[in-house]
């Protein structure tokens, strides 16, 4: 099984973009050949999708990457140099990369994991997306599906 896993905060403006992509793909029935999961902020549940039966995981989330708001990039966890400064390991502190490290530390090989990071325009306690992300939303959906169906990247 292949998974598209959206993570974020549904009412966190652009922090919701991953969830909205998973939601739209599910609602439109576009999740053919893969399953779209809206994980919210419950990141530890990600571990349940990293078992030996999983062929591919695409995690979609907002990511501050120093790019123009609305731009996106596909990258793997080992391409990321930063980690949030956290003393512990929690759930809502939610460092995605730490959850992946945790899963890897358990000893079983992980399936291929790719992250689709989308540069946020605004993050706030509000529903919806900023205009920058709203205008490119259909392109995000298309890029995510393209990646899961063909393994190739559309330009971000």
């Amino acid at each position: 099984m292949r998974y598209l896993i959206g993570i974020g905060n549904y009412y966190g403006l652009d922090d919701s973009v991953g969830l909205r992509i998973a939601e739209v793909i599910g609602e439109r029935g576009l999740d053919r050949g893969f399953q779209a999961i809206d994980m919210g902020g419950n990141l530890l549940d990600l571990i349940h999708y990293l078992g030996p039966e999983t062929e591919q995981v695409l995690i979609v989330d907002s990511a501050r990457m120093g790019m123009e708001p609305g731009s996106w990039a596909l990258f793997t966890p080992d391409q990321v140099a930063t980690r949030k400064p956290q003393a512990g390991f929690s759930t809502h502190e939610g460092d995605l990369l730490k959850v992946l490290e945790f899963a890897a530390a358990l000893g079983e090989p992980l399936p291929p994991v790719t992250i689709m990071g989308i540069e946020p325009g605004h993050i706030d306690d509000a529903p919806g997306l900023s205009a920058e992300l709203e205008s490119r939303f259909e392109a995000y959906v298309e890029a995510a599906i393209e990646f899961l169906n063909t393994g190739s990247e559309l330009p971000g």
Partner: protein
């Protein structure tokens, strides 16, 4: 010359959201002993205004990623109360089964990932992997089980999709339930070892007592997770009951200068909600297997040690597993039948109470005659516990000073107390902050 202590924990780890601990003692004189919550309000009650009754549960589910089932169920129940919807017995059983999955799932996460590191002297669950790999693997096996259990009934465990006002949009088949039953039974050995593990670590739990008022849902025929009325119990066993519609008379919310969240109180200056409160209020209705576990772990009602909230969670995991099996057996025997959603017969104001992992949860909504929401109110358990945590702090500091604890020991003792409440202060934003390897 007395002891001097300076503890300033900004954003305590291994809790949900942000809370601060500040303790200052100079020459034995207490200057500050404070639990504070700096989270910004999230305005969910405002977000539901103007939305159709069919949307409300989906919106408020997003209040919490861990208690999403509880918020969904509370909203559905309040909507149904407002609209004269009487759900079927099959719906009630399936919802209760889903509620047990959420409670067990959250408690496993809390006990194994957030509390166990304190008891095993580790910084985090991550640090337990090399030293206690089997403990971590067992935790994940149990968590996966409850995740699958919740997903089967609710569509998914985080923000369930099948639970709507009037019933379910999709039902599990009897074969699904038979398979789930087998999986739960196969997990019983892991459950038994969990109890053994907690029993072996019980000595690391601080022996601190502070009697308070305990509030929980209770019911004449169940432990009170899904449905019932409100009951509180004082340490002397005196009980008081409240109708769900009168919830404001027992929560009495007020604003504290220490917090952006409202505080609550009832018969005393504060009350406790959560697994320990449920245990104290509903002990007689625990499944016999859970009662036996409580006895093995040295717990009986009325337990006044707030650190034992985590132990009560272990008792409740056992309760949920065996009650879940009982409900599954009943559903298998009766068959799962397709049912149309029960439709509204009126529009007005409705209230609901439910137990979520961290305690008693109230939802209230009002709707106009076209079914659009005109008013909403949610009182979450962590907000209800803030005043009680502060009262515990006030008693814990002299208790710790009497024991001549070092500053580090005292910091850990305060942090463990907060973590014992399993607070879900907020679901804050968590966007990635990325710098690429060059």
């Amino acid at each position: 010359m007395g002891q001097t202590i300076n503890i300033d924990v900004h954003h305590i780890t291994r809790v949900e959201g942000h809370g601060n601990i500040k303790v200052n003692v100079t020459d034995g004189l207490v200057e500050t002993c404070e639990w504070s919550v700096p989270e910004a309000p999230r305005f969910f009650e405002a977000m539901v205004r103007g939305r159709h009754y069919t949307e409300v549960a989906r919106i408020v589910s997003r209040i919490c990623g861990i208690c999403a089932v509880g918020h969904t169920l509370a909203a559905c129940k309040a909507v149904e109360d407002a609209m004269g919807i009487e759900i079927t017995e099959q719906t009630r059983k399936l919802r209760t089964l889903l509620k047990h999955a959420e409670n067990a799932d959250s408690h496993i996460l809390h006990v194994y990932v957030l509390v166990a590191p304190d008891l095993l002297g580790a910084q985090s669950a991550f640090a337990l992997v090399p030293t206690h790999g089997e403990v971590v693997a067992r935790a994940l096996r149990l968590k996966r089980l409850t995740h699958e259990w919740g997903s089967l009934i609710g569509g998914r465990t985080t923000h369930p999709t099948t639970v709507v006002p009037g019933g379910f949009t999709r039902l599990p088949s009897v074969n699904d339930l038979v398979a789930l039953r087998e999986k739960i039974l196969a997990a019983v050995p892991d459950l038994e070892i969990t109890v053994d593990t907690v029993a072996s670590l019980a000595g690391a739990i601080p022996d601190f007592d502070r009697p308070t008022e305990y509030m929980a849902v209770t019911s004449d025929d169940e432990y009170g997770l899904y449905d019932g009325y409100v009951q509180t119990i004082l340490p002397d066993g005196d009980r008081a009951t409240y109708a769900v519609a009168d919830y404001r008379s027992c929560t009495n919310e007020y604003v504290s200068p220490n917090s952006t969240a409202k505080y609550a109180k009832n018969r005393l200056d504060s009350y406790a909600a959560g697994a320990l409160a449920r245990f104290n209020v509903n002990y007689d209705k625990l499944h016999p297997e859970a009662k036996a576990v409580a006895e093995r772990l040295g717990m009986g009602p009325i337990c006044t040690n707030p650190y034992f909230n985590s132990v009560a969670q272990v008792v409740e995991i056992v309760h949920s597993v065996y009650e879940g099996l009982r409900l599954i057996d009943e559903l298998i025997a009766e068959g799962v039948n397709a049912e149309a959603l029960v439709q509204p017969t009126s529009f007005g104001r409705g209230t609901a109470v439910i137990e979520v992992p961290r305690g008693i949860l109230f939802h209230e909504y009002a709707f106009d005659e076209e079914g659009f929401c005109t008013d909403g109110n949610c009182i979450i358990p962590t907000g209800q516990n803030h005043a009680n945590i502060q009262a515990d702090f006030d008693a814990l500091l002299p208790w710790a000073l009497e024991r001549a604890m070092s500053e580090d020991e005292m910091r850990l003792t305060f942090e463990m107390l907060v973590r014992a409440y399993d607070p879900c202060i907020s679901c804050s934003t968590h966007y990635l902050d990325v710098e690429f390897v060059r």
